[in-house]
Symmetry: C2
Subunit: 160 residues, 2 copies
């Protein structure tokens, strides 16, 4: 039960892409350099975001990634599902249907597994909280805590 680090990378990149929006597409190499990440692997992590409609990619010279929509329309849930896939973390294997319960009539399984229900509802709380957090809010918090950072990052990239 460990979340791919690509989720963190993607979130950071989205925030950065928003800051760099005026400069056109940003290539994987530039993004990776900003965070000290392996460029090729970062590229691989960003690809599912393109498929999910969070980013758009353009090839060729001066190509790179760009936000497909505003930060307010992107939630942490979007990023997670794009990279981790749509499946839930807890997967009920219905082990109760074997052994002791194998001889029971099928009607006994009409009701869902109580454990599965409890685990699902808890996980739903998590996903609900993730879906409630837009990247716009996250960025607002970040800029609130470090007001000059945005300009500093833009300058660093401009001089590169």
């Amino acid at each position: 039960m460990k979340i791919n680090e690509g989720v963190e990378w993607a979130a950071h990149c989205c925030l950065l892409l928003n800051w760099m929006e005026a400069d056109g597409p940003v290539s994987t190499a530039r993004l990776a350099a900003g965070y000290g990440l392996p460029p090729a692997y970062l590229n691989k992590q960003l690809q599912p975001l393109v498929k999910a409609g969070v980013l758009t990619s353009t090839a060729g010279k001066k190509g790179g990634f760009r936000l497909a929509k505003g930060l307010g329309d992107i939630t942490l849930m979007d990023i997670l599902t794009a990279i981790e896939g749509p499946d839930e973390a807890f997967k009920c294997a219905e082990i109760r249907q074997a052994g002791v319960w194998a001889d029971l009539p099928a009607s006994a399984f009409r009701a869902p597994c109580a454990i599965d229900t409890a685990m699902r509802s808890a996980e739903l709380e998590w996903r609900r909280a993730l879906a409630a957090q837009t990247l716009a809010q996250v960025q607002a918090n970040a800029e609130l805590q470090a007001p000059g950072l945005r300009r500093q990052v833009q300058d660093w990239y401009a001089a590169r």
Copy 2:
């Protein structure tokens, strides 16, 4: 991001152990037979629960596992942390401290990473929901949906 199936196994076993409490310890072989699981692997999954103080184990003939406390004192969170470990699913690697941010003064990192904060708070919601669910509640729901099941299971084990 996939939860070990051992979590589901452990939860089911705890409920079963509660039903079989009067019969003394239940061995791994009997537990596994009840769910059609590989006995040795189930044993391996239950061991951390003993270390966590959820179960007690006794060796030798007529040995096996037994609940260390009442179902009301065991939460889904206990089981999860016992098997998955205490670490959180989302681990912030502080990638913001490399590249662009490498030259910034240390004071810039006094404030926590905004992404980390948002992810953590969402995950906390999940853990809070898990900690609020005791196995006693889960079992109550299960027995409510299938009233005769408890007796049926006890009989199956008694005849074995």
